[in-house]
Symmetry: D2
Subunit: 295 residues, 4 copies
Amino acid sequence: MIGRTHGIHAEPITLGLKLALWYEEMKRNLTRLQRAAEEVSVGKISGAVGTFAQISPEVEAYVCEKSGLTPDPISNQIVQRDRHAFFFVTLAVIASSLEKFAVEVRHLQRTEVLEAEEPFTKGQKGSSAMPHKRNPILSENISGLARLMRSYAVAALENVPLWHERDISHSSVERVIAPDATILLDFMLARMTYILGNLCVYPENMRHNLAKAGGVIFSERVLLKLVDKGLARDAAYRIVQRHALKVARNGGDFRQELLRDPQVRRYLSERDIRQIWDLNNYLKNVDSIFERVFH
Amino acid sequence: MIGRTHGIHAEPITLGLKLALWYEEMKRNLTRLQRAAEEVSVGKISGAVGTFAQISPEVEAYVCEKSGLTPDPISNQIVQRDRHAFFFVTLAVIASSLEKFAVEVRHLQRTEVLEAEEPFTKGQKGSSAMPHKRNPILSENISGLARLMRSYAVAALENVPLWHERDISHSSVERVIAPDATILLDFMLARMTYILGNLCVYPENMRHNLAKAGGVIFSERVLLKLVDKGLARDAAYRIVQRHALKVARNGGDFRQELLRDPQVRRYLSERDIRQIWDLNNYLKNVDSIFERVFH
Amino acid sequence: MIGRTHGIHAEPITLGLKLALWYEEMKRNLTRLQRAAEEVSVGKISGAVGTFAQISPEVEAYVCEKSGLTPDPISNQIVQRDRHAFFFVTLAVIASSLEKFAVEVRHLQRTEVLEAEEPFTKGQKGSSAMPHKRNPILSENISGLARLMRSYAVAALENVPLWHERDISHSSVERVIAPDATILLDFMLARMTYILGNLCVYPENMRHNLAKAGGVIFSERVLLKLVDKGLARDAAYRIVQRHALKVARNGGDFRQELLRDPQVRRYLSERDIRQIWDLNNYLKNVDSIFERVFH
Amino acid sequence: MIGRTHGIHAEPITLGLKLALWYEEMKRNLTRLQRAAEEVSVGKISGAVGTFAQISPEVEAYVCEKSGLTPDPISNQIVQRDRHAFFFVTLAVIASSLEKFAVEVRHLQRTEVLEAEEPFTKGQKGSSAMPHKRNPILSENISGLARLMRSYAVAALENVPLWHERDISHSSVERVIAPDATILLDFMLARMTYILGNLCVYPENMRHNLAKAGGVIFSERVLLKLVDKGLARDAAYRIVQRHALKVARNGGDFRQELLRDPQVRRYLSERDIRQIWDLNNYLKNVDSIFERVFH
């Protein structure tokens, strides 16, 4: 399929690469989540200001062990809220990754692109007014929920600077965001798993879109080949850009344009150009990338 | 041009409508900005805690008048920071509007859509590696800057709850965000004005995209007409959806499909269907909308 | 009572001034809220992309009037979300004002200050472990809730840049923040009204705190008087600072220190100093400030 | 010194405990920072869309090694921005910890508390108008800067969901926040190190504040002792609260009150009460806490 930067066709990639990138990102997120969960998995029974004045550290150790928690090495009236802030900002990072995937699905499902679609149950209604529409509503939902997750992180960060041995202002915040953020992220993860596990993929449309711009996506290779054959980079850039933009704007076939240009032909033979027009050039390292991700 | 909801073709609109919607939004933003500027255009010379202990209110009145400010009716050591917070959140709203316009330009410039493009100076290089590309970098820049503007609003809101007759914690924040936020918004406005004032518009591509989906965008009108002629809404929806999704997925011509369906033809004559296929049905109220916006 | 800047005793004020400042701030907030409510009190029945393709503007006008809404002059599938963003950021400003009041109550209730306390029902338990404590938990609660309100504003701002004629990503956000933010602010306002309407005020402690620092709060007046009598400002500052810091740190009586200092006495008679030690000097303009606020 | 919760005197602690708590928190922050720095210390030279189409992975490996970076296992046009978001939210957590310490210094320096003060250079002016003041301006500065650091985190989180193989909207954000956030945090750390390394501590005032509330801080121990001797907890709570609140409000001596109450004396001997009035009861576990932090 075509790779896109700035929303514009760039160079060919594969759908597998796109997904492998996300897979690697979720590996990072899993590690982050485990560490963040560890950070808040501490307990304290050290009394009103953390001095163990009325109760001994042994009690704390005993209860924490029973609860699967580590005793916080030092606390005041509470476990310090930098731990929880770190937990919630980590959730916000994960949610933002999920939003990236969701935005991609929404883009791929656009009418003009249609390289993939969210699962759509047989018999499901689309738009109530417009029967022809299949809308990526699950992914749009995830986009919105990521905004909520980011906002919870803001509140959690403000919870850190409590007064003295504790003030209770963090409590009202946590009563809302602790259940809401964790339940929401669980929901988002489940929903994204469903979307990707049941994604409708349209290879025909990928091929069609790849071909679409008259071959201008090969422009970088033409440029490099011209330079390779001795043309100055700047001159080569101007020539390639002129042909490529003309085709991109007015239609036509980039390869034919090049073949017809005597200035180009001074450097490139028909065979040179045919060799450029080979998708495998772009994909020759895909396996080695996969190796790095899925080792 | 086609209107899009959820990124999917919906029903026809005009580019003028899109721009008129933004124009109306900027009218709101202008009013908001004027009010927010008024809110912070107050002065105070009421002494260390606001009591005019060493200096009389007349001095304040005199200096404020000379400075084009209104005397704050009551102050402590400073003008209260709810005024400034309101100012900065207002800037963030305006910046978010600008991001909406920027995102639209980025969408319209996508290779598959290409209904409009940012201005591109003759001779300007696009991507350094890929000569065929014209990237919407001005609009992408505005998208990013809007994030900064939103973040400044967060800091400004935290500046409100100062201690007693004033603590100075707001100062370090304002030394950064006051120049940065105001200069940035000015820059964003200038840049967006340039983009829209010099936007490249491609009516041919608009027409082409409109035609693209085999006419399924008329599905709502077919549905309503069927209901009008006596078919139950749910039954009508099923029929229309079946044809529309088939065409949207596999290509073909929605009108032909309908004409060939005996069940449809029981309710709709060829003339009925031809009448549906008229873009003017969609645009008949455009002028009256313009009247409301540009009165 | 003493006015405090940077948490340090500054110059005398009155509790009335503190409250009048808040009253003025809530006047601003009321105006802001009314405007923000107006901004979202619009309706639209303009169809799937805002063109009134299937329904006439008269229907919109009729329904809006019945619903007490103004027809939005122009819309696409929805009323634009800059209106809602403006509404939610306004709520966040108001909540931040409430937090300022709450922080003040928390400060005044500190054991060492104790100039005011939240209402405490007869028979109410304080800390479960420490029976001697009366904690400002209502105000602390408001402090926390203000963080939530600020965070909702962040999410609302991100809702503005929707795609084309609408994408539905804002919906999941609004299903959470629309009820939560409005209910929370209502709760905060009711709670703050209760706190301030039933605040326990301790004038004895105010007097005691005023006297506390050995009279150094009169330092600015001593400084100005010395300058007035011909001493250079910098020299005067050094003398006054030396006495004032000594008393503030080691105890003692600032007035006696001054009376005993021959250098001071070269400029100030006993009568001069007695005149400085008059709280009314600080409060002579209070009524005129009240006049400005409560006219 | 007295420990405070909700801003109210709770039970005795030591300054060492307060600082050890922060030390432990900064140990966590150091680990977090190292991990976050590792997350962004990756490089990529994988081409325009990450396929190594024109350049081999060996080049990436070579350059990364020379630059002290790890090759990102998979990338598209850029290293993914979840890495940077994680970095900036981590900085925001650290900054929020620093704000907690700063708020504590500001509290301890309050006129009524004055248990510690920021370093104040000999000859330094305080307030320009009020020579008697020494303001905690360094700590207030840190409080404000923490707001900026939190706001940068918000922008960094919004940078994650880029389009397809990259859009450049993150760039304008990072050009501002990357230098600003890292320089600011460095500055905050240096400033806080200076403040704590040169903090003025006033043990006399700590002792004075401890004694201040007529001994009511021993209320929890009295309560527990009464229960221990057979009185029902609720009854004991009522008695202790009555005496404690009376003393806290009207002055007097909590111990004397208890000694005079026949109901109390039915359970507690004079010796019992004297044993309660021993600060060492509160501090007996301090060393073992230190052991846990500084092992």
